[in-house]
């Protein structure tokens, strides 16, 4: 009896101590999601939020969003942008981590420099690359022409064929340090004896990577890929600051479309509906990934 009442008391204490965290999550996460979902089911064009919330419930916003071609184009652009960023960022991050796992002069301060792209605000990254990739005065065009790889200057951000690549490049530059840091931490946890044993067994470099390195970094790498995928999927500042979603919608991802619907077209309800669809997509992505991650972490 005494044991039971002690356990109950402990449970009550545990809940009490968790209350502040629950309150914070409710205020900062649950309440904004509730407001967004509410806005998404209130058809109407008013920008006064109190007027919008008093509109009758309806699904007209979802009907509009699902029937407009710009929504599906934005989904496609978001997918291309996310995958187009993740793959090179992961590969560069992995290569950099493998490099920095070796001993060489000035390794420590070079590792610190490596973090800089991750620390630079997205808008500054956009401005920098806008100048580097400028069609008329940019250094990239100049170098490519001198190397004989370009006959005429390319308008990287203005040409619909190159604009998506032009926004992916700065995003990769900003993203890869996160993979490097995560994978490097995992690499340093792999015991050196495993490599020695592999060498004794005659394993080549690629075999060492496949059977020693990769199993050691796989779990944190997968988690890093999932997190980065979610961040990239909702990315806004790099694209908005460099192309604004153009030219002619060529780089209009879902994040840009939400902004344009809300503050360009004054349709908060439609913007909220797109936001809910983004949330649903991200949730599905996380649920599918979590099953795989659970297996890995068992």
């Amino acid at each position: 009896m005494a044991k039971r009442s002690l356990k109950a008391a402990e449970r009550r204490l545990a809940w009490l101590l968790l209350m502040p965290a629950f309150a914070a999550v409710a205020l900062l996460v649950a309440w904004p999601i509730y407001v967004v979902v509410q806005m998404s089911v209130r058809p109407g064009r008013s920008l006064a939020l109190d007027q919008l919330m008093s509109q009758p419930l309806g699904l007209a916003n979802y009907d509009r969003v699902l029937h407009q071609s710009t929504t599906w184009a934005a989904f496609l652009h978001s997918g291309v942008y996310t995958v187009g960023t993740l793959v090179p960022a992961f590969l560069f991050g992995l290569l950099a981590a493998l490099l920095f796992n070796r001993a060489f002069p000035a390794r420590r301060w070079l590792r610190s420099l490596l973090l800089l792209p991750w620390a630079v605000p997205g808008v500054i990254v956009s401005i920098t690359f806008l100048w580097m990739l400028d069609a008329s005065y940019g250094v990239v065009n100049s170098v490519l022409r001198r190397l004989g790889l370009l006959a005429t200057d390319l308008a990287w951000f203005v040409d619909a064929d190159t604009a998506m690549l032009a926004v992916i490049v700065p995003t990769v530059w900003k993203s890869f340090p996160f993979f490097t840091i995560t994978i490097l931490a995992a690499l340093q946890a792999i015991p050196g004896e495993l490599y020695e044993a592999a060498k004794v067994d005659g394993a080549r470099a690629w075999q060492q990577f496949r059977f020693v390195t990769w199993p050691g970094v796989k779990r944190p790498a997968m988690l890093a890929v999932l997190l980065n995928a979610l961040w990239t999927f909702r990315e806004f500042d790099i694209i908005y600051a460099s192309t604004g979603g153009g030219p002619a919608g060529a780089t209009e991802t879902l994040g840009i479309l939400v902004y344009r619907e809300a503050f360009g077209s004054f349709r908060f309800g439609t913007a909220a509906a797109i936001g809910v669809l983004m949330l649903a997509t991200a949730t599905v992505l996380v649920l599918v990934s979590m099953r795989r991650l659970k297996d890995e972490f068992r």
């Binding site: 008013s46 920008l47 006064a48 939020l49 806008l130 400028d134 069609a135 008329s136 005065y137 200057d153 308008a155 990287w156 951000f157 203005v158 040409d159 619909a160 064929d161 604009a163 192309t243 604004g244 979603g245 153009g246 030219p247 002619a248 919608g249 060529a250 344009r260 503050f263 360009g264 077209s265 004054f266 908060f268």
Partner: protein
């Protein structure tokens, strides 16, 4: 008892100490604008604010710079959040969409006590929405041709007087490998992309809104837009309005089509470039222009702040401050403020005021388009960027644009 009395004494002293500063509390008027750092007009604003504050002790005007490309969106957020600025400065093209939301205060009663109705140009009527005047026009203008005289002389071309001559002059002055271009214009996603295209259309005497209907498939409109498209071929790609102006001021481009407000920046050009920079009227049969920007009051602000903000607007509209405004290089709306002596001292004022006087409004006047200007501008900009970045024929691009506009911005 003694303790209670002591506490009461402390509370009383604290209340007096707090009340004293509150009694003398300053009223601060929030005034966001894109012109707070614009050469020429920013000096006028700061001098006006200083004079207003001297005349109204206890009132402070907090001018805040917001870049033009983000200005309307930021104001939209502020109004939607119920936190509008006290002095509302808007690009006039966006006035109707704000008025349509009920965000702006009707000014008819306030205007009765002024001479604005008698002394302002006909463009002041653009400030009317649903039968109520909701703003005071601050500038109506005619488009200006800025040109680098040295570049024209080096290329042996005369100042153009027709669109074809202009295109030929742009071609003659372009040497892209050397970083020299015939024209600096907007070639990136920017709110003023519509103005660039509309200037060619209205300037040629055509109109893409005719008889209350969209008219983008009119051959005259297609021809005018083709002219604009050709001109973009002589301009650096990826430029917004700020970059375009900077390229002109740096002496890298021969021509810039813009508003008279750029003159303030031209006066700050490097010493070796400045003597070559001139202005003239645009080489179009019709001068495109319109209402540029205007001042308003927010409907939902404190009554005292509204009165104080209105006093500020009245001061800006006074003959003394309108004269000073005209001397910045932009045409003041108040009639007759520019004297012969002013023109003698600043000859460019004659061109600026002549063009403003004969300008035809390039912004849509159809109510449905004005109320949904952002949607209209977004679709037009999209079509313009398609024409800049692909080889799609102009007629098809404009036909697609018209179909899209008829669906998204139907004309009531």
């Amino acid at each position: 008892m003694k303790t209670t009395k002591s506490w009461l004494r402390v509370l009383a002293i604290a209340a007096i100490a707090l009340a004293a500063p509150l009694a003398h509390a300053q009223m601060t008027l929030e005034f966001p604008t894109w012109q707070a750092e614009e050469p020429g007009v920013s000096t006028w604003w700061k001098e006006l604010i200083a004079a207003y504050e001297a005349k109204n002790p206890g009132v402070k005007v907090n001018i805040q710079q917001v870049p033009f490309a983000q200005f309307v969106k930021q104001m939209t957020v502020r109004f939607a959040a119920g936190s509008p600025p006290d002095i509302v400065h808007l690009p006039s093209r966006d006035f109707a969409s704000f008025a349509d939301q009920g965000w702006l205060e009707p000014l008819d009663d306030r205007l009765k006590a002024t001479d604005i109705a008698a002394t302002w140009p006909p463009l002041q009527s653009e400030m009317s929405w649903n039968g109520k005047t909701q703003g005071v026009l601050l500038m109506g203008y005619g488009g200006i041709l800025f040109y680098n005289d040295k570049m024209l002389k080096d290329a042996k071309v005369a100042l153009p007087r027709t669109p074809d001559e202009w295109l030929a002059a742009m071609k003659a002055t372009t040497d892209a490998p050397k970083g020299q271009f015939g024209l600096a214009t907007i070639t990136a996603e920017h709110p003023n992309m519509v103005v660039e295209m509309a200037s060619w259309v209205i300037g040629s005497g055509a109109d893409w809104l005719k008889g209350g209907k969209y008219n983008f498939t009119d051959p005259a409109v297609v021809k005018a837009v083709d002219g604009w498209r050709q001109s973009v071929g002589y301009a650096p790609k990826g430029t917004n309005s700020a970059t375009a102006r900077q390229l002109f001021i740096d002496g890298k481009v021969a021509f810039l089509r813009d508003g008279p407000w750029v003159w303030g920046a031209v006066e700050k050009a490097p010493a070796d470039v400045r003597p070559n920079l001139r202005i003239a009227g645009l080489p179009f049969p019709v001068t495109p222009g319109g209402a540029s920007n205007s001042l308003h009051l927010a409907a939902k602000t404190d009554a005292k702040k509204k009165d104080a903000a209105w006093n500020f607007i009245q001061m800006a509209a006074s003959p003394e401050w309108q004269h000073r405004y005209a001397l910045t290089g932009s045409p003041a709306p108040r009639k007759g403020v520019v004297t012969a002596a002013d023109i003698g001292a600043k000859p460019q004022l004659k061109t600026v005021n002549d063009e403003a006087a004969k300008a035809r409004n390039l912004f849509p006047e159809v109510q449905a388009v004005r109320a949904n200007y952002n949607d209209f501008a977004t679709l037009v900009t999209k079509a313009a960027m398609k024409m800049i970045s692909t080889q799609e024929p102009t007629a098809k691009a404009l036909a697609d644009l018209q179909a899209e506009l008829e669906k998204q911005v139907p004309l009531r």
